[in-house]
Symmetry: D3
Subunit: 137 residues, 6 copies
C-alpha cells in the first residue's frame, strides 16, 4: 500500500544562465535574455513528494515537520535570497537552469532522507514553466 | 488508448490526531498541536482521477455528472461540516491523518465505481500539505 | 502619497455557529449544519492591509517582518489549531461567524499597530466565502 | 536521468457536445446542457509536459521557447477565439469533449516534436474538470 | 460598523462582441477576433460583495445561502452554458463586453437584494482580464 | 456610471534593497537578507486597474489591447529579466522596495494613459507580500 505525501516550500533567488567556457556571444545566442550578466530572478515554488508505506501505528508516511525541516536545511536556507551562480556551491560549475536546480535539490534531499522513500521534486520557475524530476534511471 | 479524467470537490471538517490506546502525553508527543482534544479543522480539497478508455461513441471516459454524484454520496455528504473522529464511522478506530483519510476515500470510491477504471485520490489538508493515493499494491 | 501594503497569513481552526442563549432547535434553524455540536473546521486565509505614507528614507511603509510578527502574536499563535468557541476568549460570548472573526482580528491588530496606519482585514473561510473589514464607522 | 519539463498555455473557445448522426433528443439526453445548439464556451488551460534527458551541454531538456512556439502554432493559433465544432477541422466529425480535445492536441504535438521526448497533455475545461493524456497504449 | 461579505460563483458561456448596426468590417476592425461570427467562449468567474452592518443577533451580515441562491437565480441559471448574444434577453441589443455583462449582473442583483446593502460585482473573463463595478454614480 | 477594468501582467527581475549613502552595516541592519550585495530576485505579478466611464458605443472602458501594450512598453520591456538596481534608470538613486517599484510603475503609466482614467497598481513581490497604490493625494 504505497502513497505519496507532498510538502510545498519556496525560495527567491537571482541567477543567470551562463557557461564560463563559452563566449559572451555564445551564451547570449543560446540563453537569450536569461543570460543577462547583471542577473535576473524568480520566486521558485517547490513541491517535494515522498513515496512509501504508511506506518500503521501513527497513520503517517512521515511526520511532515521532519520533511519541512529537511527542506529548510537543504534548500530554503542555502538558496533563499541568494545569487545561485555566485553563492550556491553546487552551481559554481553547473548552469543553474530549472532542470539543473531540480536535480541538485533532488540529490541533496536524497542524501538526507531515508532510502525507503522514493522522492519527487516539482519546481516552478514561473507560474507557466516548471519541471518534475524523480531520479528515475 | 488510456486517459485520466479528474474532478475536484471539497469538504470542511473538524478532526484531531489521536489514538485511544495511547496516553494523552504520548498523543501530544507524537502528534503535537494536531492532537488538541478540542479539535481543529480544515478545508479539504479533493481531486479524484479515473483512468480508462474513452468511449468512442460519446467521446467520454465517464459522464462527469456520474463521478460528481458518487463523490457527493461517498465523501461530501458524510464528511462535510462533520467531526471526523466522532461522526464518521470509518475513523472510529482509525486515526484521521491525511494519509488515512485519502485511503478511506479511495476505498469508498473503489466500492462504487466500475472496476474497469483505475482510481487516484489527491487530498489537500492545507495549501501546502497534500497526498496522492492510487491503491497500488 | 498614500499606499497600502498587504501580508498574507493563515490558521486552521474548529468552530460551530451557536448562541448559548438560544435553544438547539433555534441554533439549527438559523445556522444549519454550521451549528453541528461536534464542530467542523476551516483553513482560514488572512490578508492584512496597512495604509499610510511611505518612509522616504527606507522606501518602506513598514518593515513587513514587523507586520508578520504582529499577525503571528495576535492571530496565528492564539487561533491556529484551536477550537475557536472553547479556546479563544474573544468568542466565549460571541458567535464565531466569519464576520465576527474578522472584526475580532481587526480590533486585536488595531491595538498593536501604530495609529498612523489604516488597517484592513480580508478573511477567507473557504475559497468561495470571504469578508473584508476596515473598521470604517 | 529522465526529467519532465512543463509549459502552460491557454485558449478560449466555443463548442457544443453533439453527434450529427444522433437526433437532437438523443444528443440532449446524453450531453444535457452541454449540447445547447447555440454553443457555450470555456477558457481552456493547457499544460504540456515533455519527458527526456537533460542535455549536459546546455542544462536544458529543450529550450522552452521552442515548446512555446510549437504550442502556439498547433493549439493556440488554430483553437483560440474559435468555434471548435465549426472552425477546427479535427472536430468536423469528432465530438469536442474534453477527452477528445486532449487527444487531438496530443496527436498534433506528437507530429511536431522530436520522437525522443515523451509527451503529456493536461487540459482544464473548468477549474474543476480536467484530463491528462500521455498517449500510452 | 460596515463590512463586506463576498461570495464566488461561475458560469460558462459563448459570446461574440458585435453591434448589429455596424457592418461586419467595422465590427471586425473594432473588436478583432472577439467578433468571430461563430462565437467563442469563456469560464466567467464572479465575485459578488454585499456591504452593510453586521446583525448583532446572528453575527451575520446576510446568510450566505440567501446570496448564493440569488446569484443562482439571477446569474447562473440564465447565463450558464448559454450563448449570451442569442439566449440572454439583456444582450439582445447590448454588446456583451465584460463591462456590460458586469453592469447587467449588478442591475439584476440590485433588483433582488435589500436596498440596505451596497453591491459590488467583480467579473473575470479570463485569469488576466477582469472588471469591478459597484454602481457608484 | 464608473467601472474599473483590470489587466494582469508579470516580469522577473533581480534586485537588492540598498542605499548607497549608507554603510554596508546599516544597509544590512535595516534591510536584512534583502540587502545581499549579490542580489536576489522575484517573479513580480502586476495588476493594473483603470477607472472611468464605459463608452456606450463600444461597451468598452478601454480596448484592453491598448492597456496591454502600454504595460508592455512601460513595464515589461524595461523591467523583465533585468537587474532593477543596475539596469533600470528610475532606481539609480531610489531603493527598489516593493512600495517604490509600485509608485514608479504608477507614474510611468500615468504619463502614458488618458487623464480621464483613474489608475491603480497592485504589485506582488511574493504570493504573500503585495502593495496597492492608486496615487491618491
Amino acid at each position: 500500500m504505497s502513497l505519496t505525501v507532498y510538502r510545498k516550500a519556496h525560495f527567491n533567488a537571482a541567477h543567470r544562465l551562463f557557461r564560463e567556457d563559452w563566449s559572451d556571444e555564445k551564451n547570449k545566442e543560446v540563453f537569450g535574455k536569461c543570460s543577462n550578466p547583471n542577473y535576473h530572478g524568480h520566486n521558485y515554488e517547490l513541491i517535494v513528494g515522498l513515496t512509501g508505506k504508511v506506518d500503521p501505528e501513527t497513520g503517517y508516511l512521515i511526520d511532515l515537520k521532519i520533511l519541512k525541516n529537511v527542506i529548510k536545511d537543504e534548500v530554503e536556507d542555502p538558496f533563499d535570497h541568494k545569487n545561485l551562480n555566485k553563492e550556491v556551491p553546487e552551481f559554481k560549475n553547473l548552469n543553474p537552469t530549472l532542470e539543473n536546480i531540480a536535480i541538485v535539490i533532488w540529490n541533496k534531499l536524497r542524501a538526507r532522507l531515508d532510502s525507503k522513500f522514493g522522492i519527487s521534486v516539482e519546481l516552478y520557475e514561473t507560474p507557466r514553466n516548471f519541471v518534475i524530476y524523480n531520479g528515475e534511471s
